[in-house]
């Protein structure tokens, strides 16, 4: 074993101070004696190079192994326990999730307009690593791509249905018997779940990580956010625990979603080509997705992840354009502005955490979504942070908060609006009755060129998974390597393969839902992490030079 340190270089005579020298003014480094990688184990065994954070890697690997074994072996006991934990959390802590998410959005919006928005990530003279298009494509593909495929048709339809019938699941009490009002409410509620709040959550995590890494010189791992609160203690156990939970949430979040995505893709293939959608198909799909993801992580962020994300953007834009042109064009275009307005008008009521009458909707939908977005935020946030060096805070928040929200509004208006229009104008019941994973295909089935568009839909589902899987592997690798992004390649391969393997194990052995419930439960501790991040962002930005 070869403990690595930079002692050879730490005491350059021309650097003045011992340890970490101050850079020439562009940013304000935090003064710490911690050397990135000092707790790492670096060695070459069996011809493979490794460079890992000893504690974070070994403990998270053990916990992961333990949970996979226990959910497979004790399904009947563990499954119900995890599955019961989730509603308990999302119901009892609903006010806390809603309240916190509002804080994140408010802080992000406020930052756009304050002088702090002029701070540049990476120091005043930093230059962006990626073009606007490449950057934005990556943000979006990592953040919610797959969910838009899954829920784009399903969610507006559901809220529209409950609002119309006045069911006790309707948002804000619904609009019984009033089709137009039910449509408005359904769209506003959907957009609420896919708009400012999820992106506000991502923006806060990503901004805090980018700030403390690029401007303050701390390693790119979750623990760095806590430096203003815990000080040097973040390098010890409190920090290890934060990083381990982040690895856990990321890996299981990805593995369970990989399982769900394989289900949707398999269902689509069965619907379209009659390929039997059994376990074999899904295992083959996951294997295929993992192989592509593997190639992509080996090619790296620039040539792998970025290119795939761009392909994805183009395909998604084509599908969106197709639905706008072939579907009810005028309805979608005017609906876009109406929905934007409805969203703005209903936002205060939907986001209010206290004294709500529609507790089913608030607890079963909103609180569930917030926990879900928050449990994904370490992964998405860290990835967004990594590709955002060189942007100003203002530019960053506009790109991470406002632009994706507008795109979500357009997407939901097009996909949901087209499906609801089929129901309202033509009395088509297909989408309403289809299973969740088939709703998209049922809607496309009512339009021309069904085979082509459905096939694009399936490809999009698959490629969105690849882009989540590869960026996830990069994130887990850098957390378990103590914040190093230049750890040896075999580690990336390891994580990408493990992700696929766990997804297959959970799919074949069962227990995916139990673990998904477990992942969502990590939303609660991470809400606290995010609140800490808000504080850290304000403290951190205040002593940065502004351009």
């Amino acid at each position: 074993m070869d403990k690595q340190s930079n002692d050879n270089n730490a005491q350059e005579p021309d650097n003045g101070s011992v340890g970490v020298p101050a850079p020439e003014g562009p940013a304000n480094l935090i003064d710490t004696d911690y050397v990135i990688g000092q707790d790492n184990v670096a060695t070459t065994k069996f011809g493979l190079e490794i460079d890992l954070h000893g504690k974070v890697f070994s403990i998270s690997a053990l916990i992961i192994l333990f949970f996979v074994i226990i959910t497979l072996a004790l399904q009947d006991q563990v499954g119900p326990a995890f599955t019961a934990l989730r509603p308990w959390l999302t119901n009892n802590m609903a006010w806390f999730f809603l309240f916190s998410a509002n804080i994140f959005v408010l802080l992000a919006v406020v930052l756009i307009f304050t002088p702090l928005g002029r701070v540049r990530l990476g120091g005043m003279h930093a230059k962006p690593d990626f073009s606007y298009m490449g950057w934005f494509a990556m943000l979006f593909a990592a953040g919610m791509g797959i969910g838009l495929m899954f829920y784009g048709v399903a969610e507006p339809m559901t809220h529209f249905g409950t609002s119309l019938s006045g069911s006790d699941w309707a948002p804000l009490g619904g609009a019984p018997g009033n089709e137009q009002a039910a449509l408005n409410l359904g769209m506003a509620a959907t957009i609420f779940h896919w708009g400012l709040h999820p992106w506000g959550i991502y923006a806060i995590v990503a901004l805090a990580l980018a700030l403390f890494s690029f401007n303050k010189g701390l390693p790119l791992t979750m623990r760095s956010i806590f430096y203003p609160i815990l000080g040097e203690r973040v390098w010890g156990w409190p920090g290890h625990v934060i990083d381990i939970v982040a690895v856990f949430a990321t890996l299981f979040g990805l593995a369970t979603s990989l399982g769900l995505g394989a289900k949707q893709a398999a269902a689509g293939l069965e619907y379209l080509f009659g390929i039997p959608g059994g376990e074999v198909t899904m295992v083959l799909l996951i294997t295929g997705i993992t192989c592509v993801a593997l190639t992509s992580v080996l090619l790296g962020v620039d040539k792998g992840v970025q290119r795939l994300s761009q392909i994805n953007m183009v395909l998604a834009a084509l599908l969106l354009l197709f639905i706008i042109i072939v579907g009810p064009t005028m309805l979608i275009l005017s609906g876009f502005f109406e929905n934007l307005w409805n969203y703005a008008a209903d936002l205060p009521a939907l986001a209010n955490p206290f004294g709500r009458q529609d507790s089913n909707f608030m607890e079963g939908w909103t609180s569930f979504y917030w926990a879900w977005w928050i449990s994904w935020s370490p992964f998405v946030g860290m990835f967004i942070a990594r590709v955002s060096r060189g942007r100003t805070v203002r530019e960053f928040i506009i790109a991470v908060l406002l632009v994706p929200t507008v795109i979500s509004v357009l997407w939901m208006t097009a996909f949901g609006g087209a499906a609801i229009d089929q129901f309202v104008s033509n009395g088509f019941q297909g989408v309403k009755e289809a299973a969740l994973e088939l709703k998209l295909f049922a809607m496309l089935g009512q339009m021309p060129l069904t085979t082509i568009t459905s096939f694009i839909g399936i490809v999009l589902v698959i490629v969105f998974f690849v882009t989540s899987s590869d960026s996830g592997s990069l994130v887990i690798d850098s957390i378990t390597a103590g914040g190093k992004v230049d750890a040896p390649k075999p580690q990336r391969v390891f994580w990408a393969v493990i992700e696929g393997a766990i997804a297959i194990a959970l799919l074949v052995g069962g227990g995916a839902e139990a673990l998904q419930a477990m992942v969502i439960s990590t939303g609660l501790p991470f809400t606290l992490v995010l609140l800490a991040a808000c504080y850290a962002i304000i403290v951190g930005l205040k002593d940065e030079p502004r351009g």
């Binding site: 070869d2 690595q4 340190s5 930079n6 050879n8 270089n9 350059e12 021309d14 650097n15 970490v20 020298p21 850079p23 020439e24 562009p26 940013a27 480094l29 050397v35 990135i36 990688g37 000092q38 790492n40 060695t43 070459t44 011809g47 493979l48 990476g122 120091g123 930093a126 690593d129 990626f130 890494s213 690029f214 010189g217 701390l218 390693p219 790119l220 992580v297 080996l298 090619l299 790296g300 962020v301 620039d302 040539k303 792998g304 990594r386 590709v387 060096r389 990069l474 850098s478 914040g483 190093k484 992004v485 230049d486 750890a487 040896p488 390649k489 075999p490």
Partner: protein, 143 residues
Amino acid sequence: MYSKIMVPVDLAHLEVLQPALKTASDLARHYGAEVCYVGVTATTPGSVARTPEEYQQKLEAFAREQAGDHGQRASARMITSPDPIADLDDVLLQAIEDTGADLVVMATHLPRHLDAVMPSHGDRIAAHTEQSVFLVRVHNRDG
């Protein structure tokens, strides 16, 4: 024969670079060539430096130290990459063009089985550049 020798260096692993550094210095003195030390670093904080600016300072100091120890003319060039592990080969090939080097001296590990799947950087550079490449083997067991 040669006027500019490019030497890729990793400031985190200087010990394994020693034979390559020595070779480059000796060749430089023999041909009266300049040695350009090229360091590729991530934009995120790493074990060597916490910002690219700091890496640049260390690389320049390293080049001055080499010049002082061995007596050749030396320069330093830092290149940043968001994903240095994946981009290293391409970045170095570009650096050969940009520096106008006519010889590359770089350390490489002994051939091993994994090379078929993940070729060493030396292999890739030698295969893709028109300039001469001198691969210096590292004979230590852990290299």
